[in-house]
Symmetry: C2
Subunit: 359 residues, 2 copies
């Protein structure tokens, strides 16, 4: 068996030790005589996993008891709908910072539910960037401001977060737990697991408890945050195996030294890769320098033909998933928490070699 | 490693060969150099898995091209909400056959969305039973009739299905693909995977295409069947690993000879277990004889103390998950497709032995 370096944007690479542990326990979890895939979500084994997952998340995020931590299904996309269903009452207005494809998808879902407004729109700007806090045109008395902390497709990331008067809601799918944030400053954080937390099929929601009371009667219980909070995320059968892997990933992250330690490692990886881009005119970064993402590094080569060749040759050399999103083209290296520094070293070497051969 | 016989109601036992294959590929799927847990849902490996899952399901269910097959998240519980959001227009009425805990949960979700009516209610009947088609009080022009084909908690199952004029919608979570049905006669079938199809976190939806057009504008795209149908169940990142296991389970089922073959095996298992219950007064079946479930066999012992002892001693003897649901007590043996006949043989022997020692 030979594992490649996987730069996919998500589902994304997982720590090899996490996969190895899951494999070793796949037919018999913790001497229970059954796989965790087959275990009742009400049984002692899964309950302990679930509790450790929540506890590790609370610890790593540093959120207090004013916030509820939920593990749900449906991905960030279901959150794009649940947020307005729960928090955008008739007559109210919600502000959205339109920063790219993911913010646009959130905006579209919410516009079916109620009145939404673009507080900024830099989706079409090239190089790609995030709105600056100062340019946000906020609605007085808005139900909330929705931001997308990292745009995986364009490769832009918020580095200085806004502090609106309205509740602040953030889609952190692609940079959660990658660097320290003040999670208590957010009213609602959500994240699909498949970039920094585990496999696809699990969604993390961190919600200020006081925010759970405003829901219209017409919203079914299954789509209310309060329902899931009151049931300890067990209102319906949870995605058990995904939560098990999320627990192992958070345990792995704590073992590495937590968010501060991974942030240092992430910064070093991103710096090395952006330096490789900036030291030659052969490569061009796709995002504005002050908005560059530490998670998704996007860049161009002199032609689309060379980009296709780059992707193919990199894959042959054991570096997969480097093709940019079909909507923007180019190259994208996703270097989430679980991407080892050696993967970036290998990519940087390959880039220099590719330029030498094709420059 | 020693695997037990697992009688859990769901998440439930999976075929050992499916688990073994998943384990062997867990760090490197099909020589791709990465786990399927880490593979892009747009990549060749996962696309082939997804296509085979849909194709196997279409084949095993015997549904034609008038029906769309979707693989979603959120379990049957999200379907309890999506069904009325998509199909219960303002001013219309939906009929529900209240047969137990699961039908009640569906009814409750729908009652937030629109006008719902109980076409029958035998939830409180003991022994547990299903409504008979003749006793259904159907609303003329109803938006649909919702039934629950098998109630896992009470252990009752529909054996003769109704044929209403209104669209027929069935929650088949706990008996899908366990015996032949005319799937084309249903307008919408849904099922959480964690009983007969795979692990928790995947939901099967089989919907008549003509039914997808009636949705009010206020329903967010993520909650519309049409959205998922148009995107081939890839509107958002799917629960990839669960779909992979579902594909392996459907492949396993086809290898066994398909639904007819498993139905014969299921019938034999259920007959053997109900015979063991009926040949002595020591055990009492909880469901009416003509409504007995072939998936969840529920019965009582002479006292709750003996039931607790039975569950504990069975677990010690390698038979787990036999405790009845907390809301009804007693014993429940869930004997889904993947439960091997040997498990039922072992349980029947244990029952005779237990009676001898405690009769």
């Amino acid at each position: 068996m030979s594992r490649v370096y996987n730069f996919s944007a998500g589902p994304a690479t997982l720590p090899e030790e996490v996969l190895a542990e899951a494999r070793d326990q796949l037919l018999d979890y913790s001497a229970s005589g059954m796989s965790i895939l087959e275990s009742s979500h009400r049984g002692a084994e899964f309950k302990a996993i679930h509790a450790e997952a929540i506890s590790n998340l609370r610890d790593l995020l540093g959120v207090g008891e004013d916030h509820e931590i939920l593990l749900l299904q449906g991905g960030a996309t279901l959150q794009f709908a649940m947020v307005p269903l729960n928090l955008l009452a008739p007559g109210a207005v919600a502000d959205y910072a339109l920063s790219g494809a993911w913010a646009a998808k959130a905006f579209k879902e919410a516009s079916s539910v109620g009145t939404v407004r673009a507080a900024a729109d830099c989706s079409a700007d090239r190089p790609a960037r995030m709105p600056q806090s100062a340019e946000l045109d906020l609605t007085p008395g808005a139900a909330y401001l929705h931001i997308t902390t990292n745009e995986t497709i364009s490769g832009a990331q918020w580095h200085e977060l806004p502090t609106p008067e309205a509740p602040l809601i953030a889609d952190m799918s692609s940079d959660i737990l990658s660097h320290p944030i003040d999670a208590n400053a957010f009213d609602l954080i959500f994240a699909g697991a498949q970039k920094n937390l585990g496999p696809s099929g699990v969604t993390l929601v961190v919600i200020r408890r006081a925010l759970m009371d405003r829901v219209p009667d017409s919203v079914p219980p299954m789509l209310r945050y309060r329902t899931h909070a009151e049931a300890g995320s067990m209102y319906n059968t949870p995605p058990c195996f995904g939560i098990y892997l999320l627990m192992l990933v958070t345990r792995w992250l704590k073992g590495l030294g937590g968010v501060d330690a991974i942030a240092e490692r992430n910064r070093a990886k991103a710096t090395k890769l952006y330096s490789a881009i900036d030291t030659t005119d052969y490569f061009t970064g796709s995002a504005a320098i002050d908005c560059r993402s530490e998670m998704n590094v996007t860049f161009r080569l002199p032609s689309e033909e060379l980009e296709a060749k780059f992707v193919a040759e990199a894959a042959a050399a054991g570096m997969k998933g480097l093709k940019g999103h079909r909507s923007v083209g180019g190259i994208r290296a996703s270097i989430y928490n679980a991407c080892p520094p050696e993967a970036v070293d290998a990519l940087v070497s390959f880039m220099a070699d590719f330029e030498r051969r094709n420059g």
